[in-house]
């Protein structure tokens, strides 16, 4: 009331910082910021002082030194003479690989379980509820271990497949399922430009096919709008996808590298080995996070008003199409934001890899390198930087996607 009668004085008194509501919150925020900054400075300074007292220094030069250890799963060329830095890159690629695979399968499991949990079929909905509650209420580390132990204990050792008169033949002569992993045929090229260039060429062909089919579909759409009749594009599209691909694969000389049971007395040689640690980690992360995603999906679907379903049904759409065309596209707006944090969880939980001997970044840089060089602080800082960067990138990509599906307000 006084402010109405007395115009505020221009001069500023120090006591106004506490007594005046206009400044009070600002005062407290500044004080809090100073306290936080001081504590961080104190901790950091303490660390530096103590490191100096102990005669240690922060240095990253060890990243260039030869690592001296081998890694079982490498996506790039690596041996024990390569540097610690390269070992870290091998670990990063392994982390990204398992995170990528697990994100895809977890989404698949999650969407299926989430939709089925709302099914009218009593058995199916209860089974899905059972899946969700069992998997999300047991720590993921336990799932990783149990799946790994089941693989190693229940599958035969590779020895069963080896030799002329092996105990077991390979499935279809192509696949071997062992307790060290699954061996599958792997494609390679005998001709062409060698190495990665061939693969890039194949990808380029596929991308070109994709855009060609888009053009075809767009033309069909135009024709449909003009005449009401949609020309049949199925055969044409199939030809656009397949013919160039087959031609290019033939020209490059595609061959298959098959697992060979005779080459070695300990293991199968050749083909692509998908190691048991990768399978255990991948499957455990997908099925565990899938349970959380299922709940997100259910929440998203239930957030859509029942009127939408009824309206779509009134138009004569079938159940499956109602879900795909009406409900899920709207539900995505509710599903995507929590889905982002599930993807981040997968990426971070993949650091449990060491439990089953999977060589992710925590196992290489944060495990063996840290141990052999003793550079704990440097390695942990690098690890933090990597996980932070990876998580922020995933967030960014998913936020862009979210922006594209969210309600457009014009």
């Amino acid at each position: 009331m006084s402010t109405m009668t007395d115009p505020p004085k221009a001069d500023f008194r120090l006591s106004m910082l506490i007594n005046d509501t206009r400044y009070r919150s600002l005062t407290f925020q500044v004080i809090a910021a100073i306290v936080i900054a001081l504590s961080i400075w104190y901790l950091g300074n303490n660390l530096i002082q103590n490191l100096r007292a102990a005669g240690l220094n922060i240095s990253y030069s060890f990243l260039g030194d030869p690592s001296g250890y081998d890694i079982n799963q490498r996506l790039i060329e690596y041996d024990s003479q390569a540097s610690h830095g390269r070992a870290a890159v091998v670990g990063i690629l392994n982390t990204l690989l398992v995170a990528f695979l697990a994100c895809i399968t977890a989404t698949l499991f999650g969407v299926i379980a989430g939709v089925l949990r709302l099914s009218n079929n009593w058995l199916i909905s209860k089974l899905m509820a059972f899946y969700v509650e069992i998997f999300r209420n047991i720590p993921v580390l336990i799932w990783i271990l149990i799946i790994f132990f089941i693989i190693t204990a229940s599958m035969p050792a590779p020895r069963a497949y080896l030799g002329e008169d092996a105990e077991r033949g390979m499935t279809l002569g192509l696949f071997a399922f062992t307790n060290r992993g699954i061996y599958v045929p792997f494609p390679y090229f005998t001709g062409g430009f060698g190495g990665i260039a061939n693969w890039l060429l194949v990808i380029a062909v596929l991308v070109a096919s994709y855009f060609s089919t888009r053009v075809v579909n767009k033309n069909a759409q135009l024709k449909q709008e003009k005449t009401g009749i949609r020309p049949n594009t199925l055969l044409l599209n199939a030809a656009i996808w397949l013919v160039p691909l087959i031609v290019v694969l033939f020209l490059l000389g595609l061959s298959w590298d098959l697992p060979d049971p005779l080459a070695n007395r300990f293991n199968l040689r050749g083909g692509l080995q998908i190691g048991a640690p990768l399978i255990a980690l991948w499957f455990a992360l997908s099925i565990y996070t899938g349970a959380f995603i299922a709940e997100n999906v259910r929440a998203g679907i239930q957030a859509i008003s029942k009127g939408q379903t009824e309206a779509a049904a009134a138009l004569g759409l079938r159940q499956g199409r109602i879900m795909n065309l009406v409900i899920l596209p709207q539900a995505l707006r509710v599903i995507i934001p929590p889905l982002i944090s599930q993807y981040l969880n997968i990426t971070k939980n993949s650091s449990l890899a060491i439990a089953v001997g999977y060589a992710d970044i925590t196992a290489t840089l944060g495990g063996i390198t840290l141990n052999q060089t003793g550079r704990a602080i440097e390695c942990v800082l690098l690890l933090m930087l990597f996980y932070l960067t990876a998580s922020l990138l995933i967030s960014m990509v998913m936020n862009i996607y979210n922006a594209s599906v969210k309600l457009k307000e014009r």
Binding site: N264, F266, A363, L383, M384
Partner: protein, 338 residues
């Protein structure tokens, strides 16, 4: 979950504590307890028995040090450490000494700022394979899958050995000995490699030890010994000379059976100096005169400790080999007590 992050934080916190602390001898005396880092469980070297009491070769050394410093062999807090956590635990001051089959290497001594006070077991890295594979030499292991304990020198030796012999292998990194054992028995790896003593200890705990053979190749030198932090020389001296006291006791014929008699005084001046009836060696260490006598009384001299925990009479069945006294063709050689 993020073990290494926690370790990093522990290092930081521990370094803060370590820098402020006084000498470790005083710390241990003030605490009334010795914090000793051991393995998470390796039969014969350090593992809890049926009553939960820690037993083993390394454990005996911890108890001897506790007896020398505190006069009570049971005043030891055993801290189980893995290959990965052990150095952080020691550097941070969480433990006062580490007696955990740790190989004395240049970089650990110099770069990691630790002090190896001696060698209590001369070891070397070996290989164990199932007998049915019919392998008789490590050079035949081309293409094999090998289980290794991660964070140890064995990892590096293994890479060097296979590289030098131009043969390939698949490493399976494993955190603890128990897990490695389980993986090896399930056939997830063909070969298990670690220090030969550790292999013998592991094999002894198998249901059918006879189904597994140790290959003849020893691919590395692994002098295992207790270590302490760099810079605290008084404490380093205490641990070093406790170890030397056990070794000298064997050389001089002092055993747990005759020590009381010998402690009353003998004709051998070195025995007298060791047991504190002559000279002031204990005082020089900052301990009392019969420190060494107490250390020897715990489990006997080096030879007795060896025989009781890992010797040929035990399931582990290790011969003295390099670990015999120098007088008997081994490498054990304690500097004189003078």
């Amino acid at each position: 979950m993020k073990k290494s992050v926690i370790l990093g934080a522990a290092t930081i916190a521990g370094l803060a504590a370590g820098a402020a602390a006084a000498g470790t001898v005083d710390d241990v005396k003030a605490r009334g307890k010795l914090n000793c880092g051991v393995t998470t469980g390796l039969v014969g070297f350090a593992s809890p028995d049926a009553n939960g009491e820690w037993q083993g070769f390394d454990v005996s050394l911890c108890r001897a040090v506790a007896a020398a410093v505190l006069g009570d062999a049971s005043a030891v807090e055993f801290v189980p450490t893995t290959g990965k956590t052990r150095f952080t635990a020691l550097a941070s001051g969480e433990i006062d000494m580490l007696a955990r089959n740790t190989t004395w290497t240049f970089s650990r001594d110099v770069d990691l700022k630790f002090e190896f006070v001696g060698v209590n077991y001369y070891d070397g890295q070996g290989f164990m394979v199932p007998k049915e594979l019919g392998v008789s030499s490590a050079k035949e292991l081309d293409g094999a899958t090998v289980c290794i304990q991660t964070g140890t020198t064995t990892e590096l030796n293994l890479a060097d050995f296979f590289r030098a012999n131009n043969i390939s292998y698949e490493p399976v990194p494993i955190e603890t000995n128990a897990e490695a054992q389980q993986q090896y028995l399930a056939g997830a790896c063909d070969v298990y490699t670690t220090d030969a003593s550790g292999l013998a200890a592991t094999r002894a705990s198998f249901e059918n030890p006879g189904d597994h053979v140790l290959l003849p190749e020893i691919i590395s030198k692994e002098p295992l010994g207790p270590l302490v932090r760099h810079g605290d020389h008084e404490w380093g001296d205490v641990v070093r000379w406790t170890l030397n006291a056990l070794i000298s006791a064997e050389e001089l014929g002092v055993t747990s059976a005759n020590i009381d008699e010998m402690a009353a005084g003998t004709d051998n001046p070195e025995v007298n100096r060791l047991l504190g009836t002559e000279g002031t060696l204990g005082e020089m260490l900052g301990l009392d005169a019969d420190w060494a006598a107490r250390a020897i009384k715990v489990d006997g001299n080096y030879g007795e400790v060896f025989a009781k925990n890992i010797g040929e009479e035990t399931p582990i069945g290790l011969a003295r080999g390099l670990n015999a006294q120098w007088t008997e063709g081994g490498l054990l050689y304690s500097p004189p007590f003078r």
